[in-house]
Amino acid sequence: MFDEPTRKRGMASLTPLIDVVFLLLIFFMLTTSFLQTQSLSVVTPAPSAADLPKDARVVEIWLNGDGSIAIDGKPIERAALTQGLNAAIGERKDITVTILAERGSRTQALVAAVEAARQSGAKSVGTARVEKIAK
């Protein structure tokens, strides 16, 4: 009755397919990110630095305004912070680590100090910001 449509021979053009695939490729290249982020849980600090304990069982990490770091007044490199803190704490684990951030110190130093304090196994970690560290 009806004429059967003659089947097209060979492949249909590939160009539109390639166009779409390229578009998808570019889309995924632009929207994906390979950056691996990590998360670090930190207890929020009490508003006043005066609340921090100040007895012998406290090790202080100073984040100085010029970017340097010190443990109880002794300057230390950021890479050696964990080691230095472990040495300062010694065997006593009932110790409190206090991180004092002077005006001008940076977040990178703060994160390094918090991580070092966590890794040292100190009983508690306190953070406070101060205008100027009394040396």
Binding site: T31, S33, Q38, L40, R103, S105, T107, V111, Q119, A128
Partner: protein
């Protein structure tokens, strides 16, 4: 004169097939290896860290720029004043989980001020985002 046999001209599709193969491969690679992240209006370079607490899907993200300003979604504020803004947002969304994305060069003071504001808003613990250090 020596005459070489000319190669008969290839059909167009044959030359395109390897290209398509490679492009498909790249496409599948990006599909599988990448993770989609929602775009944020400020770009920060996260501080390097070693620890990972694997906190995931934190509903509220605060961004601290290198100059100390705090972003919550579309709003931007000084760190000193950010507590009230965050408190209202937390009340609206009924959550206590907050993540902080701070630039590595942001003043530690601003981050601590922000954390103090969060403490006053009733947030006991925050998640600071870091990048795996080398």
């Amino acid at each position: 004169m020596i005459e070489f046999d000319e190669e008969p001209p290839r059909r167009q599709f044959e030359t395109l097939v390897p290209l398509i193969n490679v492009v498909f491969l790249l496409l599948i690679f990006f599909l599988l290896a990448g993770t989609m992240t929602p775009a944020e209006n400020v770009a920060v370079s996260l501080p390097e860290g070693t620890l990972n607490d694997r906190e995931q899907d934190v509903p509220t993200t605060l961004i601290v720029e290198a100059d100390g300003f705090v972003w919550l979604g579309e709003r931007v504020m000084d760190a000193k004043l950010s507590g009230a803004m965050v408190e209202k947002h937390l009340k609206d969304t009924n959550t206590k989980r907050v993540a902080i994305k701070a630039d590595a060069d942001a003043p530690a003071e601003a981050v601590l001020q922000l954390m103090e504001g969060l403490r006053e808003a009733g947030v006991e613990q925050v998640t600071i985002m870091t990048e795996r250090g080398s």
